[in-house]
C-alpha cells in the first residue's frame, strides 16, 4: 500500500500510542477533587503546558476541543457573537474563500441565520492572501467582527504570511483567527509571535489521535461558548476532559514540532522528486498552488508534503479510482456527504476553470513516506492518466 494522503490523516506516532495506552486504563475525572481526579488533572495540565510550549502559546491560551472542525466553529461563531454583542454594528466577517469548509460553512451559517455579512477576500492565483488586500477589505474595521485566513491551505498547500495579515487586522482593531490544522508540524507556527487572536489545530494531522484538537485563544479575546455545561476550558468549552486524547495530542504536537525541520527537508525532497518524475511521465501535468521552491518570510511558501497536480483531460475521480486499484491512495478535492467528488472550491477560488479543478489530484506526503512510495506513483501514473483520459465522465 502506498499511502499518500497524509493531509487527510497521518499514522499515529508510536510514542503517542504508548502515552495514550498508559492513560486509557486509569480512572479519574480531571474536574474531581479527590486523588484520582487530581492525578488526571495533573496529566491534562502537563499536556496543556507541553502543547503551549511547542506552539509559542501560554498554557492558559490552550482550549482543548474535539478537533479542527469544532475549533473553527468555536472561533468563527464564538468571536462573532461576542464582538457583535459588545457593538451591534460589528456584523461583517472578512474571510478567504479558499478556507476549509469548517470555516466557510460556519460563516455561511451566520449569514443565513444570524444576520452576519461576509466579504470574500480576493485570492492570488497561488492561493495566498496579500496583506494589502486584507487591509482594503477591512476598511476602517468598525463594522468587522472577525477576519479568518488559514495558515496553510489543506488542498494546494499554500502558506500565508499570518503575522503580516494579523498586523493589518490589528491596525484597525479587528481580531484574527487562523486555521493552522495543516501548518502545525510542517512549517514554523508560533502563536505568540504571529499575533493572531485564535488558532485552530488538531491532532490527527501530525501523528496524534482523531477527535482531539485545540483552539489557541488569547486571554483578551472574547469568545461566546458553543457548548455550555461544567465550565471547563475557561468556560468557553464545557465538557469532561478526555485525558488520554489530550496526552496523545500533546505528545504528537511536541514530537512533530521538535522534528519539524529535519522532517520537512526529507519530505520536501521526496515531494520534489515526485512532481519532477510525474511531469517526466505526463509532460502536460500542471502544478496547482505556489511553486515548489516558493519562499515566504524566510520559510517555505508551500507545505513541504503537498503536491497538488492537474492532469488535463482526465477526471480526478477516475484517476483516484485507477490509482486506488493499484494500491496508491491519494485524494481529489473535497467530497460531499454523499461521496460525490466536486470540483475543488479552492481551485475555483484561485481562478482555475472547472476543467482544471475537476482534473486534479492531491498527493500529500508525511512522516512514513519513502522513496518507494514515489517510485510506485511514477511507475503507474503514465498509463493511469492515459486510461482516465479515454474515459470522460458522461461529458460531451
Amino acid at each position: 500500500m502506498t499511502y499518500l494522503d497524509h493531509a487527510a490523516t497521518t499514522p499515529m506516532l508510536p510514542e503517542v500510542l504508548a502515552a495514550m495506552t498508559e492513560q486509557l486504563g486509569r480512572v479519574g475525572n480531571a474536574s474531581s477533587l479527590h486523588a484520582s481526579g487530581r492525578a488526571a488533572r495533573r496529566v491534562a495540565e502537563q499536556s496543556r503546558e507541553r502543547l503551549a510550549e511547542a506552539l509559542g502559546a501560554r498554557p492558559s491560551e490552550v482550549l482543548f476541543t474535539g478537533g479542527g472542525t469544532e475549533s473553527d466553529n468555536l472561533a468563527v461563531k464564538g468571536i462573532f457573537w461576542a464582538r457583535r454583542e459588545a457593538d451591534a454594528q460589528r456584523r461583517r466577517l472578512v474571510v478567504s474563500p479558499a478556507e476549509h469548509h469548517a470555516v466557510l460553512d460556519s460563516v455561511e451559517w451566520l449569514v443565513k441565520h444570524d444576520d452576519a455579512e461576509v466579504t470574500w477576500l480576493p485570492v492570488e492565483p497561488s492561493g495566498r492572501i496579500r496583506p494589502e488586500v486584507l487591509a482594503e477589505a477591512l476598511g476602517d474595521g468598525r463594522d468587522v467582527a472577525l477576519t479568518s485566513v488559514m495558515w496553510a491551505n489543506n488542498e494546494i498547500g499554500t502558506v500565508n504570511d499570518i503575522a503580516a495579515l494579523a498586523a493589518v487586522a490589528h491596525a484597525v482593531g479587528v481580531p484574527m483567527h487562523t486555521d493552522a490544522v495543516q501548518a502545525v508540524g510542517q512549517v514554523l507556527v508560533d502563536f505568540g509571535a504571529s499575533g493572531v487572536d485564535a488558532l485552530t489545530m488538531t491532532g490527527h494531522k501530525l501523528g496524534g489521535p482523531m477527535g482531539a484538537g485545540a483552539l489557541l485563544l488569547r486571554r483578551d479575546a472574547e469568545c461566546t461558548p458553543l457548548l455550555h455545561g461544567g465550565g471547563q476550558e475557561r468556560d468557553v468549552r464545557s465538557g469532561t476532559l478526555d485525558v488520554a486524547a489530550i496526552v496523545g495530542l500533546a505528545v504528537a504536537t511536541a514530537t512533530a514540532v521538535g522534528r519539524r525541520e529535519q522532517r520537512a527537508a526529507e519530505v520536501g525532497e521526496l515531494r520534489d522528486r515526485l512532481v519532477r518524475e510525474v511531469r517526466a511521465q505526463v509532460p502536460d501535468t500542471q502544478l496547482n498552488g505556489a511553486p515548489l521552491d516558493d519562499v515566504l518570510a524566510g520559510g517555505p511558501g508551500r507545505l513541504p508534503g503537498n503536491a497538488h497536480l492537474s492532469f488535463p483531460g482526465a477526471e480526478g475521480d477516475a484517476l483516484l479510482m485507477l490509482l486506488d486499484a493499484r494500491g496508491i491512495e491519494c485524494s481529489t478535492g473535497s467530497a460531499c456527504s454523499a461521496g460525490v467528488a466536486r470540483p475543488s472550491h479552492v481551485l475555483l477560488a484561485v481562478g482555475a476553470d472547472g476543467e482544471r479543478a475537476r482534473s486534479s489530484l492531491r498527493f500529500s506526503l508525511g512522516h512514513t513516506s519513502t522513496e518507494a512510495d514515489v517510485d510506485a506513483v511514477v511507475e503507474v501514473i503514465g498509463p493511469v492518466v492515459e486510461r482516465a483520459r479515454r474515459a470522460g465522465l458522461g461529458r460531451r
Partner: protein, 356 residues
C-alpha cells in the same frame, strides 16, 4: 473479469454485487448520483438516489470488501432523462423515464466509462434473464423488468450482466437477509425516482406552468371543458377529466394536441386501438425477418398482446390481435418472442408514433 456493480442502495443491486463477488470476479461498486438535490431522505418506498441510498450502497460494498465510489451523473441525467421527460409531455407524448435512463445513462454513459476504465462488464440488479446475448423475462413475472431494458442493443447487452433474472424477488431478499445486509427489508422503490412525492402532474405543472386549453368531445366536436395543461392527461385516461358529456357513457382521453392544447375525449369504442405505427426500431440481437408474429407489450407492467409486425417507412406497423386502450405516442412498444420454458425473449422495441 473486472466487473463494475451499479449499486443504487436497494436490495436488488446489493445482492447482484454480492453474487458477482461470489462468482470470483474483481468487483468495484459504483453509486450513481443522479439527483441534483441529494439532501432528500427517503420516506416510505418512494424515490431513490438520496444521500441515504448512497450510504446504504456504501455499507453493502464495505461488507463485501469491494472498492466503492460515487459517480456524479446528475447533469447528464437531468438533460437526457428529466428534461426529456418534461419535453415529451409538453409535446403531448407519454415517455418512460426508466427506459430512457437505461438507454442513455446506465448502459451508455456508465457502461462506456466502465469499459474505458478497464472493466469488462457492468452488473446490475435488474430482474431479467440474459444469457448467450438473449434478453428474457425474469422468472418472477411480477418483478420482471425486461420491458425497460428492451431498448438495449447487442453491443450494450454484450457487456451487461443481470444475475437476478433467474430468481424471485423473495429469494433476493432471503439472500440479503442471510448475508445480514441491512437493506434486506428496504422497501421497493417504484414511481419515478426524480418525483419522490409521486405527484407527476404537480411536477410537470411546476416545470411547465399553466397552459390552459379546451377539452373537446370527439363525437360532436364541441368544447365540453377546460384544462390547465395537456401534460395532466394521458391517452386512455378515464378518471379526473372534469367534464360531463351528454350521455352517461364513460369518456376516455383519445388524443392530445400540444399546439392548440386540445385534449380530445371519446367513448370506449373510439378509444380502442387496433394498430400502432412506430419510429425506427432497435433490436436486442440480429434484426428479425419481417413480417413476423410476436407479442407486444405497450407499457411497463402491461399485458402482452399477440401481434403481427410489418415494416413501414423505416418504422413498424404493429397490428394487434386484441384491441387495446391507453396506447400513447411516446410509449415504447417492446416485442417479445413467447417462450414459456426459457422466458419470453425480448426482440426489440420502437417508440409509438401513432395509435389507431
Amino acid at each position: 473479469m473486472r466487473v463494475l456493480a451499479a449499486m443504487s442502495g436497494g436490495v436488488d443491486s446489493a445482492v447482484a454485487a454480492a453474487l458477482a463477488v461470489d462468482a470470483g470476479h474483481d468487483v468495484t461498486g459504483v453509486h450513481l448520483a443522479l439527483s441534483q438535490n441529494r439532501q432528500t431522505l427517503r420516506s416510505g418506498s418512494r424515490g431513490c438516489c438520496s444521500v441515504e441510498d448512497s450510504h446504504d450502497a456504501r455499507r453493502v460494498a464495505d461488507e463485501l470488501g469491494i472498492p466503492f465510489y460515487v459517480w456524479d451523473l446528475a447533469e447528464r441525467f437531468t438533460e437526457d432523462v428529466v428534461d426529456d421527460f418534461v419535453a415529451e409531455y409538453a409535446a403531448g407524448r407519454t415517455p418512460n423515464p426508466c427506459l430512457r435512463c437505461n438507454e442513455k445513462i446506465k448502459f451508455s454513459a456508465v457502461l462506456d466509462r466502465a469499459l474505458s476504465l478497464g472493466f469488462d462488464a457492468v452488473v446490475t440488479g435488474h430482474h431479467a434473464r440474459l444469457s448467450d446475448g438473449e434478453l428474457r423475462r425474469s422468472v418472477d413475472a411480477a418483478k420482471d423488468q425486461s420491458y425497460v431494458l428492451g431498448v438495449l442493443t447487442p453491443g450494450q447487452l454484450a457487456a451487461a450482466w443481470f444475475p437476478l433474472g433467474g430468481m424471485t424477488k423473495e429469494r433476493v431478499r432471503e439472500i440479503a437477509a442471510e448475508r445480514g445486509f441491512a437493506v434486506a427489508t428496504k422497501p421497493d422503490s417504484h414511481d419515478i425516482c426524480f418525483i419522490p412525492d409521486g405527484d407527476t402532474r404537480g411536477f410537470l405543472a411546476r416545470r411547465l406552468g399553466s397552459r390552459p386549453g379546451p377539452v373537446v368531445d370527439a363525437a360532436t366536436g364541441e368544447t365540453v371543458g377546460e384544462h390547465d395543461g395537456t401534460y395532466g392527461f394521458t391517452i386512455g385516461q378515464r378518471r379526473g377529466l372534469g367534464v360531463s358529456a351528454g350521455d352517461s357513457a364513460p369518456r376516455y382521453v383519445l388524443g392530445i394536441e400540444p399546439v392548440s392544447r386540445t385534449v380530445t375525449i371519446g367513448t370506449a369504442e373510439q378509444a380502442a386501438v387496433d394498430e400502432v405505427l412506430t419510429g425506427v426500431p432497435t433490436w436486442t440481437g440480429a434484426a428479425p425477418v419481417l413480417p413476423a408474429r410476436f407479442e407486444v407489450q405497450l407499457r411497463a407492467h402491461g399485458r402482452p398482446v399477440p401481434c403481427e409486425v410489418l415494416v413501414v417507412d423505416g418504422g413498424l406497423r404493429i397490428e394487434l390481435a386484441d384491441s387495446q386502450r391507453g396506447v400513447a405516442p411516446g410509449q415504447s412498444a417492446v416485442l417479445y418472442e413467447p417462450d414459456a420454458a426459457r422466458g419470453d425473449r425480448v426482440v426489440g422495441q420502437a417508440a409509438v408514433a401513432v395509435a389507431r
